[in-house]
């Protein structure tokens, strides 16, 4: 298993002010799975993503990702873990404004020491001719493609996507989802956090959260739909 969460709880604050973001969650994700984590705002889905990506730590429980028990890892080990195991794709892209598209992708390769050719990776997401452009010279969809290419350039086995289509129009959003789905096809585990129920229709598996608890976990209701059938 690439991702193993056992009895994970995440609490913010203490005493009466304590907020439980994740409440005794257990979850297994294998390689090649395209998992959509669905839930309304405040359900704990982003916290779940952050705990898996070692951006945040669980208060209780065991988190083992890519063979690393990150709930017991040191700060240094967590940095190494992020560099070698997970790649993030953010809603607002978080590209480096000072680097060109190709260099942003190269950054991913440099961070993970993957040795991949940035230009080739960029070409694989359909931006072959735009590597010399800076982020502010690209459209939102193109920027998110660069972000995906940056994640791919790490060659890490897990992609963690936080509302990756949140700032994109429908048409561009669909293209990005197709791209992410392709990555699952190459053996990566792809976790997409979204509040958009329509997106969950294309997933291999949908994990639905509510108030920090998993309320359902399984294939999409009505079966997996082709991306072309999505509409929002």
């Amino acid at each position: 298993m690439l991702i193993e969460l056992k009895d994970v709880t995440k609490r913010y604050g203490e005493g009466e002010l304590a907020v439980v973001a994740l409440d005794d969650i257990s979850l297994l994700v294998d390689q090649g799975e395209f998992v959509v984590v669905l839930g309304p705002s405040g359900s704990g889905k982003t916290t779940l993503l952050n705990v898996v990506g070692a951006l945040d730590s669980a208060t209780e429980g065991v988190v083992r990702v890519n063979g690393v028990d990150i709930s017991a890892a040191t700060r240094r080990e967590l940095f190494d873990f992020r560099a070698r195991s997970v790649s993030f794709i953010f809603q607002s892209f978080n590209l480096f404004a000072g680097l060109t598209a190709e260099e942003n992708v190269q950054f991913g390769a440099d961070a993970a020491s993957s040795g991949l050719d940035a230009a080739e990776v960029l070409a694989s997401v359909g931006l072959g001719g735009k590597g010399h452009r800076f982020p502010h010279e690209l459209s939102g969809g193109e920027q998110q493609r660069v972000a995906i290419a940056r994640a791919l350039a790490t060659r890490n086995p897990i992609m963690l996507c936080d509302e990756p289509t949140g700032e994109l129009d429908f048409r561009t959003g669909v293209q990005i989802l197709e791209l992410l789905q392709e990555q699952a096809g190459t053996g990566r585990a792809v976790l997409v956090v979204t509040h958009n129920r329509e997106i969950s229709r294309m997933a291999d598996r949908v994990v639905e959260l509510s108030s920090g608890r998993i309320v359902s976990d399984g294939p999409p209701a009505g079966g997996k739909a082709p991306v072309a059938d999505l509409n929002w």
Binding site: N50, F96, G98, T100, A112, F134
Partner: protein, 806 residues
């Protein structure tokens, strides 16, 4: 709404107080430093004027020809006979005689040349050039004839001599020191032929006229007269009448004004030149501080751009939206003014402490320069508002969506079309790209740091130049005879006289060589100035000057310093007019003689000139000497020779050849206090600018850093990137700062100080250590500033920062 904005602003202050305080200190150093530096003229002028007035500094002075005296009353009678005698307010006749002073204590040998000034203390005198007593009791007429003196304050302070002591003078006689005092001619010690601030090598002894006459063996004689004039009198007319009357009366004497007195001119006429230098440094200091503060406040306000856009989208009026960033400006401005008062007082007090320590004036008025500060505080108040107003104005001028747009989606200094070839690894590329992203911001940061480093270089460089010139002078004086000692005689003696033979016969003396030392002046097409002429055996003697042009053996003529030749506007082989004394019986008259410049020497002291001793006929002094160069026997020191010759009546002083340069070095060492005050302030300024820049960069790039950490980039590497960016800024700022500092040193040494120190050729010199210090301070301090943000980087809320949706 206003209440909300005020509360919000209060929260802003709590969140950003270190930056707000640091920017306020940057402004304070600029404004306070400016006030402190530029106000010295005001209080120095007032202090000097009141001090000279209180002690009745003379307007006109009459010096009898060297070695000659006249009976008491002679000079006063001449004054009383002048057509302009009604202009004369007070007259004092004095006897001033050279001596040697042995003020040695149990722990140190203090043997210097000096001068006994005898004044008339009767009728509550002296009424011209009176004395201010710092310790002990003032002399009165009751002390007339007693071996009691007041010791000059600068000398006493330099050597830490006790308020009451016994010192020995030439001939081995003891006099008792009853007080430490000063008089206008000694506010800074400037004996003839030396620089000002020569307290290390010259001791003034003040006593009654009767005592001076007794000590000198000249009963009833005087050789000096000083007078003050009534307000509005025509000083030039009195000088002319006096010169004419003295000549008519057959009295060989020189008539001088207070403007001819080096001590007076060094202190008074130089205030403005000093101030010009301080003004230039202050202007740079405030320019750097204001530029940096503007940049930093501008960036703080720019961080609110999105919120201003949101406010506009919600229909809030621009004027209301401007309140919050302007409140931050108000906080900085108020703190800046408050801190500025503190910095101004600190710098002002430090400078006042240095000056009051250097110059023993009876009156010092060093109040805080309120007027200057109020003027400059206006800048400190306005700049923060301007710096905030600009980004606010830009934000409210555009459509709300433009203001809300994330910074990385707004126009930047980067464009793909102009992109240069990548430097390779993105960790290495990113710092350089960040610099290029905001060229204006980078330039302002660089210029702010560069300005402060320029001031630092200016301060340190001027000291380098001065000490470099002193080193050159010392090296030239030492030449091939480092053990050389010069013995000044109290008057002219035949070379074969027993007094000269006695010097040569002293057991500690190996070789002697008679010389002549004369005062005169030289005139050329470009200038005229005082000159100290030494006639010696320049071909076979124990010492001769280095020659930088011409030859020593090129016939009769003058060997002038390179600066003298340049100032006179002549070259080797060309003629100048030397105004020099010619002996006529027991007195001297001055004549003009055209002489060719046969060579130049490298000493930075313009007034030093040489001639061959064989040309003494020109002065009617052939076969005579008034100074002897000697070499001690092996193993003997200058102090040994001084001790041995001290008791000889004809010996006025015994000095090592480096005594003058050592005195100059000591004098400038004291001025280092001012430099050190400023260096600390400037370094603090550069550090604050660097720290604030790093702190604001950290905030502005929080999301980028968070993204890096999400990709496993370690804090160490992120810091290295930030440090690289700062390093580039530091290198650029330091390079500009060093270049600016060099220009500043050039301007000060080649333009400004040529008026303040016309007799001294200052090179444009920056010692490698100085450049290294500034470079290390500039580059290291700036590039390491991001390290100060490491704690905040480590504690960054990664999920929160990454989730920020712009």
């Amino acid at each position: 709404m206003l209440g909300v904005l005020l509360r919000w602003s209060w929260r802003d202050l709590r969140a950003h107080w270190p930056k707000v305080a640091a920017i306020a200190v940057v402004i304070a150093i600029g404004t306070g430093g400016y006030a402190g530096l530029t106000s010295t003229t005001e209080w120095r002028t007032v202090s000097y004027d009141q001090s000279y007035s209180q002690l009745a500094m003379y307007d006109v002075r009459v010096d009898a020809a060297p070695g000659s005296t006249v009976p008491v009353g002679t000079l006063a009678t001449v004054v009383a006979s002048l057509p302009s005698r009604a202009s004369v307010a007070a007259v004092e006749e004095r006897l001033i005689v050279p001596t040697q002073v042995d003020a040695s204590t149990a722990t140190q040998a203090i043997l210097v040349r000096g001068e006994i000034t005898g004044s008339d203390f009767s009728a509550e005198g002296p009424h011209v050039n009176s004395y201010h007593t710092f310790t002990g009791r003032p002399l009165t007429h009751d002390d007339a004839g007693a071996p009691l003196v007041m010791l000059e304050r600068n000398f006493a302070k330099f050597y830490g001599i006790a308020p009451t002591a016994v010192v020995a003078i030439s001939g081995g006689r003891d006099v008792e020191v009853v007080a430490q005092a000063s008089t206008p001619e000694y506010f800074t010690v400037a004996p003839e032929g030396e620089m000002f601030m020569s307290e290390a090598t010259f001791a003034g002894l003040f006593t009654t006229l009767e005592t001076a006459q007794a000590l000198a063996g000249l009963p009833g004689q005087v050789n000096n007269l000083v007078l003050t004039l009534n307000p509005g009198s025509d000083r030039a007319a009195v000088v002319a009448e006096l010169g004419s009357a003295l000549a008519t009366g057959g009295i060989g004497a020189t008539v001088l004004t207070r403007d001819d007195n080096l001590s007076y001119t060094a202190l008074t006429t130089d205030i403005e030149q000093d101030q010009a230098m301080f003004n230039a440094l202050a202007a740079l200091l405030i320019a750097g501080a204001v530029g940096a503060a503007f940049n930093l406040i501008h960036r703080l306000a720019e961080q609110q751009r999105r919120e201003i856009g949101v406010g506009m989208a919600l229909g809030v009026r621009p004027g209301v939206l401007a309140i919050r960033p302007l409140l931050v400006s108000a906080q900085i401005a108020i703190l800046g003014v408050l801190f500025g008062v503190a910095v101004g007082i600190l710098i002002g007090n430090s400078m006042a402490a240095v000056f009051t320590g250097l110059i023993p004036l009876p009156v010092w008025k060093t109040a805080f320069p309120t007027t200057v500060f109020i003027r400059v505080a206006g800048i400190g108040l306005v700049v923060p508002f301007l710096a905030s107003a600009l980004p606010v104005w830009r934000a409210v001028r555009v459509a709300p969506i433009e203001a809300i747009r994330p910074a990385h989606l707004s126009a930047t200094g980067l464009s793909g079309e102009r992109r240069r070839r990548s430097l390779g690894n993105t960790f290495r590329v990113l710092p350089f790209r960040n610099i290029r992203r905001a060229p204006r911001r980078t330039a302002l940061t660089v210029l702010g740091i560069a300005a402060s480093l320029t001031v630092l270089m200016g301060f340190l460089g001027i000291m380098d130049s001065v000490f470099g010139a002193v080193d050159t002078a010392e090296s030239e004086a030492v030449g091939r005879a480092p053990q050389r000692v010069t013995v000044a005689l109290d008057t002219f003696y035949p070379i074969t006289a027993p007094e000269v033979a006695a010097v040569a016969a002293a057991p500690q003396v190996a070789v002697v060589e008679p010389t002549l030392r004369l005062a005169g002046s030289v005139t050329g097409p470009g200038a005229d100035f005082e000159m100290f002429l030494e006639l010696a055996d320049l071909t076979d003697g124990m010492w001769s000057p280095s020659v930088t042009a011409g030859t020593l053996g090129a016939g009769p003529g003058l060997i002038l310093s390179e600066k003298a030749v340049a100032d006179l506007g002549v070259g080797v082989g060309e003629a100048v007019t030397l105004r020099h004394p010619v002996r006529e019986g027991l007195t001297f008259r001055f004549v003009d003689t055209e002489l060719v410049v046969v060579a130049t020497h490298p000493s930075p002291v313009r007034s030093i000139a040489y001639m061959h001793l064989v040309e003494a006929d020109l002065f009617n002094l052939a076969g005579l000497t008034n100074a002897v160069n000697l070499l001690p026997v092996a193993g003997a020191t200058t102090a040994d020779v001084q001790q041995e010759l001290f008791a000889q009546q004809a010996v006025a002083s015994v000095q090592s050849v480096t005594a003058i340069t050592e005195a100059v070095r000591d004098a400038f060492d004291q001025i280092l206090g001012i430099i050190q005050v400023m260096v600390v302030a400037i370094l603090l300024l550069a550090l604050l600018i660097a720290f604030n820049t790093a702190a604001i960069n950290l905030e502005a790039r929080a999301r980028e850093h968070a993204t890096m950490f999400a990709f496993g980039v370690k804090v160490r590497k992120a810091l290295r990137m930030a440090a690289t960016e700062s390093l580039v800024i530091g290198i650029a700022a330091t390079t500009i700062g060093i270049g600016g500092g060099l220009l500043m040193v050039w301007w000060m040494t080649q333009r400004l100080l040529t008026e303040t120190l016309p007799d001294f050729a200052l090179p444009v010199l920056l010692r490698p250590e100085t450049v290294a210090i500034v470079a290390i301070m500039g580059v290291l301090a700036v590039s390491l500033a991001p390290l100060l943000t490491v704690r905040r980087m480590r504690r960054m809320d990664l999920p929160g920062t990454l989730r920020l949706v712009e």
